[in-house]
């Protein structure tokens, strides 16, 4: 081959493709998975109908076995068990189950417990309808100095874990730990506590989201173990406790994991959602205490800026915005308010001027919202934190699925998690049973000699 001198040589590629021509190989575009809108950009998604929904559920004393558990719900339309719990897997004990995240291959689900600091790794590919617990990381706090593994966000071959607190004072100063997919700690990165871009970092953490197109990581801030494990009624009457909430967001260089700029976003900015529309350069968050929508966006000079773009409900009533869900086209946003039990849909066609166009009361309380990639199905759960959920009859715990036609929500099914003796319904993730139709090449198979058959016949045929 001639020296290329920094030019493409066609010759080698031509030789390669000519080989396939000679063999008469036909080519088809490879199939890809696609799915809901809040996962890591490095995780394959489900763009069609999800088959099961996992609900990471807090155990409640006296309810069923009282243990934290991963609940599996069949959501296939037409299935005999549609809208029913088809499996649950208890992990033993109550550790304040909270959020989950897929590995980059969507074969495993990492699930965290904010009090016990345990991280549970579930196999969700061998039989997606019946996950198994394959690993428990028990030394998260010991190895990192962080407390409260909250957000699980895939990098290629790795998992980022955003923590909420620390082992020294159980306050809100914390950091990000990065593990490999095998569960070994690779690195840890403290949240910024210095002044960057004119704003002093508070060191707090909550959610994180990556925009690979811009090589940036965006983080938000909540509160530490001292607060999130305290009874909500007691905490709001404690002026000192109320001082210890995050009031910043930070944009990081993803490659170097160095914070580039800190934004003043008062009132505990929580969930982060990047617009998935190709070429978009903005993300949105909602602040829990001040009931605001903020957009983080590049200005015309390419500098990242934060913008207060609107209020949610009446901030004076402290509706407590919690989870948000961005439509795949970046033009709509669901926002839940815990205290109101409401969801609102905002027209985000202009992210700088979102407009509330729909609202509905989902229950006495509502926390998480997850939508299918096509936006036609919207799921809601209820639990925020074990000690922050409402009391008595207002402590409804459910998973509800609604169909969304662009104008209104229509209930598809509802599961009462207390009646089913499960516990407090928190984080949801979708999974496809297609993983069994498109047989994975998995070394975990019992008999490698059978793989030839597996490759030529879909499972279950």
């Amino acid at each position: 081959m001639p020296k290329c001198n920094n030019r493409f040589s066609l010759k080698a590629l031509a030789a390669a493709v000519s080989a396939t021509v000679a063999l008469g190989v036909t080519t088809l575009p490879a199939t890809t998975y696609a799915d809901e809108t809040c996962n890591s950009p490095f995780t394959p998604l489900i763009k069609g109908q999800e088959d099961v929904v996992y609900v990471w559920t807090l155990g409640v004393e006296g309810v069923g076995d009282g243990s934290d558990k991963l609940v599996t719900v069949d959501v296939r339309p037409g299935s005999k068990t549609y809208g029913k719990v088809i499996n649950y897997l208890s992990v033993g004990g109550r550790g304040e189950a909270h959020h989950t995240g897929f590995t980059d291959d969507r074969r495993y689900l990492w699930a965290g417990a904010l009090d016990s600091n345990k991280i549970f790794v579930f196999d969700i590919h061998t039989n997606p309808a019946k996950p198994t617990l394959v690993k428990t990381i028990t030394d998260f706090a010991e190895k990192t100095g962080y407390v409260g593994p909250h957000t699980f966000y895939a990098l290629p071959g790795r998992m980022m874990v955003q923590a909420l607190s620390n082992t020294k004072d159980h306050g809100g100063v914390t950091g990000i730990a990065i593990y490999n997919n095998e569960g070994a700690l690779i690195s840890k990165h403290d949240m910024p506590t210095t002044k960057i871009g004119g704003v002093m970092g508070d060191g707090y953490g909550y959610d994180l989201g990556i925009n690979p197109q811009k090589n940036v990581l965006l983080t938000s801030s909540f509160t530490g173990w001292n607060n999130y494990m305290m009874d909500l009624g007691k905490m709001v009457k404690d002026p000192d406790a109320m001082k210890h909430f995050g009031k910043t967001m930070a944009i990081w260089d993803l490659k170097t994991m160095e914070p580039k700029k800190i934004f003043d976003v008062p009132g505990a900015p929580l969930e982060i959602r990047w617009s998935l529309k190709k070429g978009d350069n903005w993300a949105v968050t909602a602040t829990a205490l001040t009931s605001k929508l903020y957009v983080i966006k590049q200005d015309k000079q390419g500098e990242w800026q934060s913008y207060d773009v609107g209020t949610i409900g009446n901030p004076a009533d402290v509706p407590l915005p919690v989870d948000i869900s961005m439509t795949a086209n970046g033009k709509g946003l669901w926002v839940n308010t815990m205290m109101e039990g409401m969801t609102r849909f905002y027209d985000f066609s202009n992210p700088m001027k979102p407009k509330e166009v729909y609202s509905k009361k989902i229950g006495s309380q509502v926390n998480m919202v997850s939508q299918s990639f096509d936006g036609k199905r919207v799921y809601f759960t209820t639990s925020l934190l074990g000690n922050w959920d409402k009391k008595g009859k207002d402590d409804e715990q459910f998973l509800k699925m609604y169909n969304w036609n662009g104008k209104k929500l229509t209930l598809g099914f509802s599961i009462d998690f207390y009646k089913e003796k499960l516990g407090r319904a928190h984080h949801m993730k979708f999974q496809a049973l297609d993983l069994s139709k498109l047989q994975p090449l998995a070394a975990g198979s019992q008999n490698l000699d059978s793989l030839k058959l597996a490759l030529t016949e879909p499972k279950g045929k």
Partner: protein
């Protein structure tokens, strides 16, 4: 559209149209289509954009950041293009290695053809630096042993089959799924075989998320790229960063 763009479009998009890809590409070759005088950065940008990948940032200079040790590069039993059984570890140590899993009939624009273009771009750029002779290796491992026999990969390798490049590009396959699957699993490379929805028979299309692994001379994976982060400029700087760790002085 530059000539480079035209070439890349031909390379990446035409597979979707069937056999025309090959004839048009061959026509380009035979008519001596040349590449415009684009800078390395421009080439990198055009490659990523034509694959539908947006990388709207300037990569950091080599050596200005740290690449963490992710995990040891797994070993396994492979076949070289001469059909000789080799240990994969022979190809993941002693040099900075860039390794990807491919199959020769892949037509996903953001999959194997994209990786091929990135590898080719990197080989050309790295070979332009004499100081790097013998310091970097490219490896493509097929996950389709049934079709990608050593003979096929020898054709796929083109001039690389002769092993006379300053930056060697090795093409490997396996004797069987028994040998292949543990390697895929250990690297975390998921592959699914497509099934015709009507006949339920397997089709020769494999669904996979493109992954490329950067491995240091000590057999340790230091970076993993998927299509959304696989830009020639980014990988190039990462390779130089690892070489600088080895004390190699760059011009």
């Amino acid at each position: 559209m530059s000539k480079l763009s035209a070439y890349i479009v031909g390379a990446l998009r035409l597979p979707l149209r069937g056999g025309g890809f090959f004839s048009v590409l061959m026509t380009l070759v035979l008519t001596g289509a040349s590449i415009a005088n684009a800078s390395d950065g421009d080439q990198s940008k055009e490659i990523t954009e034509q694959a539908g990948v947006i990388m709207d940032f300037k990569p950091h200079p080599p050596g200005s950041y740290k690449l963490y040790a992710i995990k040891p590069a797994p070993d396994g039993k492979v076949l070289d293009i001469n059909g000789k059984t080799r240990a994969l570890s022979e190809f993941t140590g002693g040099k900075v290695t860039l390794l990807s899993f491919i199959y020769s009939s892949c037509a996903d624009p953001a999959g194997c053809p994209y990786a091929y273009l990135v590898f080719h771009n990197l080989q050309s750029r790295l070979q332009a630096l004499p100081a790097l002779k013998g310091k970097v290796r490219l490896v493509s491992v097929s996950f389709d042993p049934e079709h990608d026999t050593p003979e096929v990969l020898k054709l796929y390798a083109g001039d690389n089959a002769h092993g006379n490049h300053d930056v060697q590009w090795d093409f490997l396959t396996t004797a069987s799924l028994r040998d292949l699957v543990p390697i895929l699993d250990a690297y975390g490379q998921d592959v699914y075989v497509g099934v015709d929805p009507v006949t339920l028979k397997p089709i020769n299309a494999k669904s996979h998320v493109l992954k490329v692994f950067l491995i240091d001379p000590n057999h340790v994976i230091r970076e993993i790229y998927t299509a959304s982060y696989l830009g020639p400029d980014v990988v190039y700087n990462d390779i130089l960063t690892l070489l600088m760790e080895e004390g190699i002085k760059l011009p």
